[in-house]
């Protein structure tokens, strides 16, 4: 039988997974990704080990996935950018970010792809809050997201309900923009402003997220005040930047 993979609707998506101390979550996540067998696209996992203290690199190697092994911890932004540059240089037309903690179910990916195809977006963000289904995060974090929604609306006119979501699909022009620049720390909201400034079309699609499966979130309660100021400043300066 002739393989149907060669049709032009079938495209490859690099799934960049930033991983910091995620050796417990990684095997099940990769297994889930490999189970997905969609006629339209093929998922290629790219794990970016952000200098984890655990066995993340070894686990990724044993899983036989593409591994970008950072020798120094760069934080989520630097890790994502490294993975995206790899995808860009490897010639991928599409790449997505999927967090390594298991919050983003790979079974939701097709919704992002469908949204990108339908509306020709350059960036599609998976939002938990459009349909308010699944894991909804803590009330403090939700308040923060509400604030971000408001700030982004004022600055760009865009309606982004889940600015902190790390589940995102990019086309090649968005990939090129990320290869040129990507924010460092808590990059997600600032990146939206950056994409808007780069005249990339941004859309959202409802997804269902889960509780993280193991380990701790990168944003603790004590950090949230710092997060608030850092992100507010970053957004404003990203907006003022030419």
């Amino acid at each position: 039988m002739i393989s149907t993979n060669a049709t032009n609707t079938h495209f490859r998506i690099a799934v960049v997974i930033p991983a910091f101390n995620e050796d417990e979550n990684l095997p099940s996540l990769i297994a889930e990704l490999r189970q997905i067998n969609h006629p339209d696209f093929q998922l290629i996992p790219v794990v970016v080990n952000d200098c984890s203290k655990d066995e993340t690199a070894l686990v990724a190697r044993n899983l036989k996935v593409d591994l970008i092994d950072l020798p120094v911890n760069l934080g989520i932004g630097g890790a994502v950018q490294s993975g995206m540059i790899y995808a860009y240089e490897s010639g991928f037309q599409y790449a997505m970010q999927l967090d390594g903690d298991g919050q983003h179910p790979p079974s939701e990916i097709h919704k992002l792809v469908a949204a990108m195809k339908k509306s020709d977006f350059s960036v599609v963000i998976g939002s938990r809050f459009i349909e308010s289904d699944g894991f909804q995060s803590s009330s403090l974090r939700r308040a923060g997201i509400h604030y971000l929604k408001w700030v982004i609306k004022i600055l760009t006119g865009l309606q982004i309900t889940d600015a902190t979501s790390g589940l995102r699909l990019y086309n090649r022009s968005a990939l090129a923009a990320i290869a040129a620049y990507y924010p460092d720390e808590y990059p997600e909201p600032e990146a939206i402003i950056y994409f808007h400034k780069k005249k990339l079309s941004i859309g959202e699609t409802p997804v269902i997220m889960r509780h993280r499966q193991a380990g701790k979130s990168s944003i603790s309660f004590i950090n949230s005040i710092y997060y608030f100021w850092k992100v507010s400043l970053a957004i404003i300066y990203a907006y003022l930047k030419v």
Binding site: I68, D69, L70, P71, V72, L74, G78, S82, I85, D184
Partner: protein, 129 residues
């Protein structure tokens, strides 16, 4: 007026400033301090030596800029200089941070490329054997 001041503090100030200048020179010669960062310290030391030798100087400058008490001028000037220098150091650190990020990223990507090449050549060897 002149007899009111002891020369002792003046001598101490000059000696300390000169020793400081010599120490900075030593750091530069040994390559432990880069010249661009040393300029600030050399200039500051020369100013210290100047006013240690020229005692009336600080009063004259204070009068010139309209500061009533000369020590206030010293404190204001010193704090301002320190703030500017701290800002300069923050810029230096930010710059290093950025360079560090790029180097780390490039190294990881290079490592990945090398691994890919190694696996390709390995399978080629296996096929020829």
């Amino acid at each position: 007026m002149e007899t009111y001041f002891s020369n002792r503090i003046q001598i101490i100030a000059i000696v300390v400033s000169v020793v400081f200048l010599l120490y900075i020179s030593r750091l530069i010669i040994k390559g432990k301090l880069r010249e661009e960062y040393a300029i600030f310290w050399v200039v500051i030391t020369f100013i210290l030596i100047l006013f240690a030798v020229w005692r009336r100087g600080i009063d004259i400058v204070a009068e010139l800029v309209g500061v009533y008490l000369a020590p206030n001028l010293v404190f204001t000037g010193a704090i301002f200089a320190i703030l500017i220098y701290l800002l300069h150091l923050s810029i230096v650190v930010s710059n290093l941070h950025e360079k560090n990020k790029v180097l780390t990223r490039e190294m990881a990507l290079m490592k990945k490329r090398l691994e890919n090449l190694e696996s390709v050549s390995k399978t080629e060897n296996d096929e020829t054997n």
